[in-house]
Symmetry: D2
Subunit: 290 residues, 4 copies
C-alpha cells in the first residue's frame, strides 16, 4: 500500500493592503486583507523538492500590491476576480485559485452638514468608559473612550526631526495618520450631565483630529486635549494615548510602477506610542503640584 499526496494547497494569508485614491474633491480608501490559495499539479514539489512549479508566496504578495496600483478596487469581487484570473493565465500548473478578501469598513467622519473628504472612522468596537475612585475624602469621576479608530489621509506631515546615524525615515510633507486612540478625562465636579458631556468631548476630539494642521502626532494629540479642556470648564485634565499605526508605502519600482502615496501596507507591529496628559493649571495649587 503505497503512500501518496492526496489534497494540497498553498498560498499567502493576511496580505494587508490600503489603497488610497486621491480624487480632486475627496480621498477614497479601501482597507483589505487578502488570502490567496493555489491548488494544482504540485506533486513533484512535495515528493522531490522540485521548486520549478512553485510561484513563491512572496510573489503572490507582490502581485496583490502591484494590481492594487494597476486596477480599481471599487468592488472587491471584481478585484479578486482580476487577481485570480491572472494567476490562472500565467501558471499552467495551477488548476484552482481561491482569493478571499475581507474589507474593513471605514466610514467618512461627519463634518458640519456632510461627510469629510479625507478623514475616516472605522466601524470598530468603540467603548464608552468611566472610572470612579472613591476614598474617605471624596469621589473622583473620569470618563473616556477606547478603541477610537481614526485615519486621516490629507494635511498631516512629519519633517525636521533629528537625524542620526540610524535614521532611514524620509521627511514626509504628507503622510497617512492612523491611530486607535484611548482617551480619559477627569471631571472637577460630580453633578455633570454625563451623557451630553461625553458626546461633546468625543466631538471635540474628532473635530480637532480633522482640522488640525498636523506637524506630528504629538502636535495633534496636544491640540485634541486642549480642545476638550477649552470646551468644558468642568474637565480639569485629559490623558490621551494615540499609538500611530504605520502605513508603510510599498516599493513598486521593481515592477516599473511608481507609488505616489497610493498603495500602503497597514502594519500591526511595531507601532509608535504617544501618550500625554494635558491639564488645566489651577492658580497656586497648581504651582505646588508642578
Amino acid at each position: 500500500m503505497p503512500i501518496s499526496l492526496a489534497h494540497n494547497n498553498y498560498g499567502k494569508s493576511q496580505i494587508r493592503l490600503l489603497k488610497l485614491r486621491r480624487q480632486p474633491d475627496r480621498h477614497d480608501i479601501k482597507d483589505l486583507t487578502l488570502d490567496i490559495r493555489f491548488e494544482g499539479d504540485f506533486e513533484s514539489c512535495y515528493l522531490y523538492g522540485d521548486n520549478t512549479r512553485i510561484l513563491p508566496t512572496d510573489t503572490i504578495k507582490n502581485t496583490a500590491y502591484a494590481f492594487a496600483k494597476l486596477y480599481s478596487i471599487e468592488h472587491i469581487e471584481e478585484f479578486g476576480r482580476t487577481l485570480a484570473e491572472h494567476f490562472l493565465t500565467d501558471n499552467p500548473q495551477i488548476s484552482k485559485v481561491r482569493v478571499k478578501i475581507a474589507e474593513n469598513v471605514w466610514n467618512r467622519v461627519p463634518y458640519g452638514a456632510k461627510p469629510h473628504a479625507s478623514t475616516f472612522m472605522a466601524a470598530g468596537g468603540q467603548q464608552r468608559t468611566a472610572t470612579i475612585t472613591a476614598t474617605r475624602e471624596g469621589v473622583s469621576i473620569q470618563a473616556g473612550i477606547e478603541n477610537l479608530d481614526l485615519m486621516r489621509t490629507a494635511g498631516a506631515g512629519f519633517e525636521n526631526y533629528i537625524h542620526d546615524p540610524f535614521t532611514t525615515l524620509p521627511e514626509m510633507e504628507e503622510r497617512v495618520l492612523t491611530t486607535t486612540a484611548k482617551v480619559e478625562w477627569t471631571y472637577s465636579q460630580n453633578d455633570i450631565p454625563f451623557g451630553a458631556y461625553w458626546h461633546g468631548a468625543c466631538e471635540a476630539l474628532i473635530q480637532t483630529f480633522i482640522e488640525h494642521e498636523s506637524k506630528s502626532a504629538q502636535h495633534t494629540l496636544y491640540a485634541m486635549g486642549n480642545a476638550v479642556l477649552e470646551r468644558y470648564e468642568e474637565i480639569s485634565e485629559i490623558s490621551i494615548a494615540m499609538p500611530a499605526k504605520h502605513c508603510v508605502l510599498v516599493d513598486l519600482s521593481p515592477f516599473g510602477l511608481d507609488n505616489n502615496n497610493e498603495v500602503f501596507v497597514p502594519a500591526e507591529e511595531p507601532y509608535a506610542t504617544i501618550e500625554a496628559t494635558v491639564r488645566r493649571e489651577e492658580g497656586e495649587e497648581a504651582d505646588e503640584l508642578m
Copy 2:
C-alpha cells in the same frame, strides 16, 4: 532590614452585565464590563492569612448584579459611583474603591423610518467579504458579511424541545437572542452590481432577524437565508453561521430580589453553534446533486 507589604489591591475583573429595561413602547439595554478594586488595611490577610477583613470577590460580583436590578444604569458614571460608595460605607477596612466600567455600544437597528424598539446592532468590526474561486472551467463569486453582532430582546422563544435525564434548561416563551453572524452567499452570475446587492442582502438578513416569530435559532436562520434568496434571483445559495451567545439570567433570589428577565450575564463560553446552507433547487440538475 525587615520585609514588608508596600502596595496592594484586590478585586474582581471582567464582570459582565446586561441590563434590560422593558418599557411599554421600547426596550433599553446596557451592556457593561466592570472592574472593581479595593485598597485598604489588608496587611493581616497577606501576612497571617487572616480573612476576616476580606470581602470575597464573589460577593463583589454579586453586589454588581444586585445593584443592576436596584438602580438605574442610565449613566455609567452614576452607577459606578453608587457601587463605589456602597463598598466604602459598609467596609471600614477599605480606604479606596476604584470602579472601572466599559460600556459596549449597541445601536438600535433602523426599521422603516425610525429605530426599532427591541433589536440592536453592536458598533462592532463588521467586515464585507468576497471569495473568488477560479478554475479552468469558470469563475464562482461569493460575497458575505462577518462579525454581524445582533441582539433581539422581544419575540424570540425556545420551547417544546426534547427533555432527557440531563435536561435542566427551562422552557422559555421569551428569551434574549444574541449572535455574531457570519454569512456567505453565492452568485449564479458574475455581472452583478455587487455593492447594491451586498447592501440589499444585508438589509434582508437584518429585517428578517427583526420581524421573524422566532421559535428557535435554527428557525430564524432559515428565514433569514430564505429572505435573501427570495429577494435576489441571482443568488443561488446562502450559508449562515449563527452562534448563539448565551445571556444567562442571574439568580437574584438569595438577595430577596426577583429577576423578571432584567439582569443577565452575557457569557463568552460555551456558546451554541448553528450552521446551515439554504439553496435554490435547480430542476433536474438539483435532483442529481441531492
Copy 3:
C-alpha cells in the same frame, strides 16, 4: 425553483471542563475544551420551528459534565467516543455526531527529585522580562516572568471571610487554586549574574506556591514575594499580580450524581485580581516612606 435546506449542523462549542481525579498518592487532572456537533433530520426545525427533534445545546453541555463524572478521561479519544455514541443511541433523528476535544497540557511541577503530586504548570507561553529605566541619576533594572500558569489542587482553602447580604460563596476548606502570574522584581545592584538569579527567583516562587499552607490567594502571594526577597539580598522589591481564575464546581445533583470536588468549569471571566508589592525596608528612609 423551490428553496430548500441543504446542509446543516448544530451543537455546543467551547465547553470547558476540568476533571480532577484524587488518588491516594497523587492528583491527576485533565483540562479539556469540547466542541460537539450534530447532523441529522432537522428540516422541520428550520422550516416550521418544530423543536421536538432538538436536543438543546444546554443539555449537550450538561451531558459532557455528567459523563466527566461517570467515565474515565485517560484518553480523550475514548472519552469522545463514549459521548458520541451516547447521543447517537438516544436520538434517532441524529445521523452524525462529531466530538472535537482539545486537551490543554499541564505538567507536574518538579519538586526535589520527582514531580509534585498536586501542583501543575501549563505548557504555556512563559516569557522572561526585563525593564531598564535609565535617567541622568542612574540605571534601575527590573526582571520578571509573565504568563506563569500554575494550578494547585490540594492544601489551599478560603474560610472565615466577611459575610454580608450579598454573600453566596460557601466557605471552602479545600479549593483548586489556579492563576496566570505576572511577577517583576527590582535589583538594588546592576552587576548581577542575571540568568542565574532569574532562574533562582522563579524557583523560589514556584516552590512557595507548592508548599505554602494557603489560607487565601493574598496569603500565598505574600509568601511567594517574601521567599524571593529572602533568597536574594540584591533584590529590593517584588511586585506580583496573581489573578485567580475560578474553577466553578458543577452542580451534578439534577442528574443524581454527587460532585466531591471532581468536575469543574475553568471560567475565563470574571476573575479575581490580586496585586501586591513586597519590599525590603531600608532603615530610616523606609520608615519615612511608610
Copy 4:
C-alpha cells in the same frame, strides 16, 4: 487658568527581533519583543509642532536592530541597559529612557541523547486534540496536535522557483524555517494505545523536521507526513497545515553593517500557508478515489 502639558512619553512598541548567533558547533537564538519609551523636554513639540527635539520612533527601531548586530544579547538586562544608555547619551532633551524587553522562550529540541544544535521548540501552548465522528455506519477517530511551534536555523533552503515580473525574493541556499504546525491523523482501527501513538507520531514529526534536507516547506511537510505513516500502519491518512512565518532579514547596510543571516524580524503577517494531506493508498478502492 492656563492649560499646560503635564506628563508625556513616546516611543516604539512591539519591536520584534530575532538574533541568530552561528557558532561552530551550534546556533543560539534570542527572540525578543522590545518596547522603548522616552520622557524629557518635549513641550515645544506638543505645543508648537517643533520636531527638532524628536528622535523618530522609526530611528528607535533601527537602533534596536543595529545594536542587535553590534552587541551580545546573552542577558536581556544588559542589552536593554546598553540601548537605554545610548539614547540618553546622544539626546540631551531626554531625561528618562525605559526599555522593556520580553523574551519568548525557545528550547532546543531533544535529539538522541542531547539537545539539537539548530532546531528549537517554543514554550508554547501545544494542545493534544482528538476528533471522533460517529455515524450509524461506524466510528472514525482522528488525533492530532495544535500550536506546535518549531524553528530550524540550518539546512533549509528555497531555490529554483518560478521567476516572473513580480518576483523580488532572492534565492536562498540557507534560510530560517519557522512554523506553527497543526497536524491531524486518522486511525484505521479504533483499539489503539492512543497515548503511546500520539507521542510516537509527534516524535516522528519533530525528528523529520530536524533531519530533512529541506528544499521547500512543501518538501518537508510531505516528509513529515510520510514519516508518521511509515511508523504506524494503523494510521491511514495525515493532514498537516504548516504556515511559514517569515523571518525577514534586516537591511543594516545604511548603518555600515553587514547582516550575514544574523538579525531578523519575525513577522506576524503576511504568512505563507501550506496545507496537504498524505494518504496510504488502499488497493483498488484507492485507485477509484483518485
